[in-house]
Subunit: 345 residues, 4 copies
Amino acid sequence: MIGIAVIGYGYWGPNLVRNIAEVPGARLLYVCDLRKERLAAVKARYPSVEITDDFEQVLRDPSVDAIAIATPVSTHFKLAMKAMMAGKHVFVEKPMAWTVDEARRMVDEAARRRLILAVDHTFVHTGAVRKMREIVENGLGDVYYYDSVRVNLGLFQHDVSVVWDLAVHDLSIMDYVLPEKPVAVSATGMSHVVGEPENIAYLNLFFESKLIAHIHVNWLAPVKVRRTLIGGSSKMIVYDDLEPSEKIKIYDKGITLNGNPQRNGEKVYQMLVGYRTGDMYAPHLDMTEALSRELSQFVDCVEQNQQPIADGHAGLRVVRILEAATQSLAQRGRLIELEQTRRIA
Amino acid sequence: MIGIAVIGYGYWGPNLVRNIAEVPGARLLYVCDLRKERLAAVKARYPSVEITDDFEQVLRDPSVDAIAIATPVSTHFKLAMKAMMAGKHVFVEKPMAWTVDEARRMVDEAARRRLILAVDHTFVHTGAVRKMREIVENGLGDVYYYDSVRVNLGLFQHDVSVVWDLAVHDLSIMDYVLPEKPVAVSATGMSHVVGEPENIAYLNLFFESKLIAHIHVNWLAPVKVRRTLIGGSSKMIVYDDLEPSEKIKIYDKGITLNGNPQRNGEKVYQMLVGYRTGDMYAPHLDMTEALSRELSQFVDCVEQNQQPIADGHAGLRVVRILEAATQSLAQRGRLIELEQTRRIA
Amino acid sequence: MIGIAVIGYGYWGPNLVRNIAEVPGARLLYVCDLRKERLAAVKARYPSVEITDDFEQVLRDPSVDAIAIATPVSTHFKLAMKAMMAGKHVFVEKPMAWTVDEARRMVDEAARRRLILAVDHTFVHTGAVRKMREIVENGLGDVYYYDSVRVNLGLFQHDVSVVWDLAVHDLSIMDYVLPEKPVAVSATGMSHVVGEPENIAYLNLFFESKLIAHIHVNWLAPVKVRRTLIGGSSKMIVYDDLEPSEKIKIYDKGITLNGNPQRNGEKVYQMLVGYRTGDMYAPHLDMTEALSRELSQFVDCVEQNQQPIADGHAGLRVVRILEAATQSLAQRGRLIELEQTRRIA
Amino acid sequence: MIGIAVIGYGYWGPNLVRNIAEVPGARLLYVCDLRKERLAAVKARYPSVEITDDFEQVLRDPSVDAIAIATPVSTHFKLAMKAMMAGKHVFVEKPMAWTVDEARRMVDEAARRRLILAVDHTFVHTGAVRKMREIVENGLGDVYYYDSVRVNLGLFQHDVSVVWDLAVHDLSIMDYVLPEKPVAVSATGMSHVVGEPENIAYLNLFFESKLIAHIHVNWLAPVKVRRTLIGGSSKMIVYDDLEPSEKIKIYDKGITLNGNPQRNGEKVYQMLVGYRTGDMYAPHLDMTEALSRELSQFVDCVEQNQQPIADGHAGLRVVRILEAATQSLAQRGRLIELEQTRRIA
């Protein structure tokens, strides 16, 4: 049995607590929060769990094997480092840190102490995203583009731009699904509230191949959209996360190139591009709650000393793109190279 | 009665011919094309119309008041200039020319000779786009963003990128609907067919105000999408051109700012943004064929010596953005200033 | 404060308990169920609530003012009658009883003892259905038809047909929204599982006016549909309960009659019907949880001795239609008159 | 070459003429109509076709092998009988006749003279309907139900109810797709215009097996719907004719029966029904214009003396159901047996 403490019982913490309480092999030992009324809420629902506002107490308890951190991003680094220094494995919310430097030090610390450092890239544990990876690996052909739209009305954040709040999901999905890592990023956007971070943004991601990726995020949209298109040379995917069951549609569509372009009588080149339109199919998806699956895997990784699917390196790659995108945003889309990330990955 | 000759009976020419044949006040005199079989097709359907492969013959005929040009873009400049030099008014397909220089010379020529120069920005004559302009002018509040997606499978062009083929529609709509003209543009994209122009592209348009615009065009998408979001401080619009009747939806949604942000107990700033969600409505739209309305207005402009809604200046502004976007595309999104366009407009 | 006991903690009971625990003016005193594990589930979540498997104990407690019954339909009559004989007000799940006779005796008992008898027609407390009633009363004109489709895959019931399980929702909505009560019903359907009740059914409801109503229910559909059309002489409504926010769309559409039909040359009458197509609008809806609102009103009714919106008479009218539809189903759609219901209503 | 004359150039006639002009093996010889302006329209577009208002002239011409009738229903019988008596093959619009008696005499006449009598059940020649038949025959398992909704605003007819105008499409599709013919029909509906036929109607069709069919047609709906559900024991189909490309979706969904129902502790039977949810797929469909395919087959049938897919018997079966439905409508849904039809089929 792996003893786990959850730090932070705000927006996401209750989901961690609920799932950890039911994951086989895990024992939920503590919930730690600075707010008394949040701790009272834990006690009312989980009478047998220890509550505390003292993080150090948790660290001192040798029955705690792992710490799950669900506090504001700005505190991730400090809490995770302390936890690892106390010999605890860490499961940390995304984005894993405020800066690349912090993220890198967390990765190094985990490596040095041979501890598991997992980042909560929840989406990569959904049936839909796992199915996409399967198709991208086997059947899509060359990957041409990845285009995601993630827009809705609210919730405006004060401390981070919409890129850190929404695009982080797409970046974690891309990191898992695509066969390559980006080499450069540019981003444009705008804040429509004086003194606040961008509430609309567009990210471009460049790769060494002909793959191109684009993410549109917006807190100020009249309708909610969660739609990703992935184009390949053999198949194309539409992933609509708002569809209740047919979230993934795979289209046997594309172009075929018919030899060399030729001249016609009007001296205008004509492309000999053919269009292929075949069946569409929507595979049945595993509908297990992603967080349950993810925490179960975290417990397995701790027990068997294996790397999780979204480990510190994945978290670092995502933070690097967020940091670069933020730089680019400030310069109306200047291209930022990501070479160092590749070395790390 | 305004005597009109149509030059070019390829893809779009037949639509011009069909509509001119029915517009009150217009007389369709000639159809001119270099291909004999196209001229035969005209004759079979419009036995009373003169057919010819000799453009000069058309220019010499004094009963021809105006020339409608529906030939490939590369020929627009030469044909339009000859027509104007012969004293003919011109109605030219979009984009109006290959380069800013050509477009500017066309505008100058029309001004010098006091001829009408209309550019076929068909969309600005649809009920949907006219309704959008009405709402943007009166009810939307400050315009925050304009976001358009125009993607489908095919038709790949050989001579122009997807920007010239598809984004030109969005640029002409924005030129008509938005209260400001862009001051800078950047564009990214990719060609997935060796030696051919970009088949996927993303354009960013910057303005002097906090307005931001973005266009996504793609010839290689598994589904057809024609969707524009316009966000304003008072209302937001969704324009879906594939909807059979409810193409425009107006949302009484947005944010309200409640005074100054304040500190809370956790030392984290909290934005006091409120979310407003009211009724949506889809106004009944005039479903008159846009091209019929447009040609009817062109005839009126010629008769009454008035400027058309989409005149040479509008056409030039669009070409300037296309040219700048093409430069930017070649440099992975470098920002290109558009200052001179503003002076012209 | 109104003391309330909930009887039955199966599928729906937990929703009653959760809401009663939060309704101002109510005190949740008991949860009663025959299954020990269900009572344990209550205790874990609501430590201060009394749990018991002895209904008589609840009845004897004078601090219990009202009983909420969420047990299988077959037990509603017996439990509700006992409760009323013990002087308790009653809130009972729908359908309120197995037979018209039972329902009528419940209504009579409540009247005799001046007790509140509320039936849980949850939908009539939703923002969407309340908005529909408002429009039907004011703006729809003459009501022409009411057409509902409520289909999905599962859950097959063993003891009741799909009519009692799904059409009961539509009947309760119609009872609330329409200006008239039906005078006759016919129903057709089929069971595709040997020995089991109908899993697909179609109900026709006839009225004294030209209003016609129809309900399609199906447990064996490949897609989930919850869509109602209401046609009126001035407006038409589409109610799609699966839409996340725009559940109600109001169309300013219809026909206009232009004088007398006339003969034309072919001796065929031509109707002079005109078609009116105006704006559509989707009003913002109150999204308060219907059950919370409903229980709050029940508490008010008990305190102020007022009739609830869905009282025993409404419940009886619905049961009468269900009973008649069941008779008709057994006779391949024979028309069954509902005259006695009208008298009661 | 088969010489063909088209009788009637109103709403549908131009489609026949356009297609016949292009079908290999056919020669369009005459278009006959009583209205001079319609004949002029033919001449303008098809200068080489003979136009006439004299049906007898057409009949006398021995180069005319077949007559295509696109006149009002009330005239089908007389025109078709005259044509067959003159030895001409017949292609007649649906419904093929006003009464079962007329339809039967047409069938008999064709049989006696060994002439081809084809009925224009256009939908059975679409890629979508042909695909449905293929799946129903091979893969759907036992057919449980067929449910169609065909509603929109307009066009109100004066001489026939909505059943003859819209349900005729569904009946012709069902006749082609389903493995059984109906044995009884009932119909309910309403007219909302004084003195006019029903503008809304619901048809129930009963079969010898457990198959049940239902059709909802309405001229007074706020939205256009063309949706058919077909449920089978192995697969289920959704056919949405308004979808631009994915008109047919095949769901690998259904129920599985797990042995005998059993009692549980609460003495309530529980069904052991399981729900199966697998992939969905949308096969690529042949998008050839149905009428072109149909007329091509008619020409082949005439040349090779073969029966068309929709022959006089199919037309008669559809008319029999329309006639019975009309009787049932007048009696608020009384069940009408269709036994004689089965004998004919």
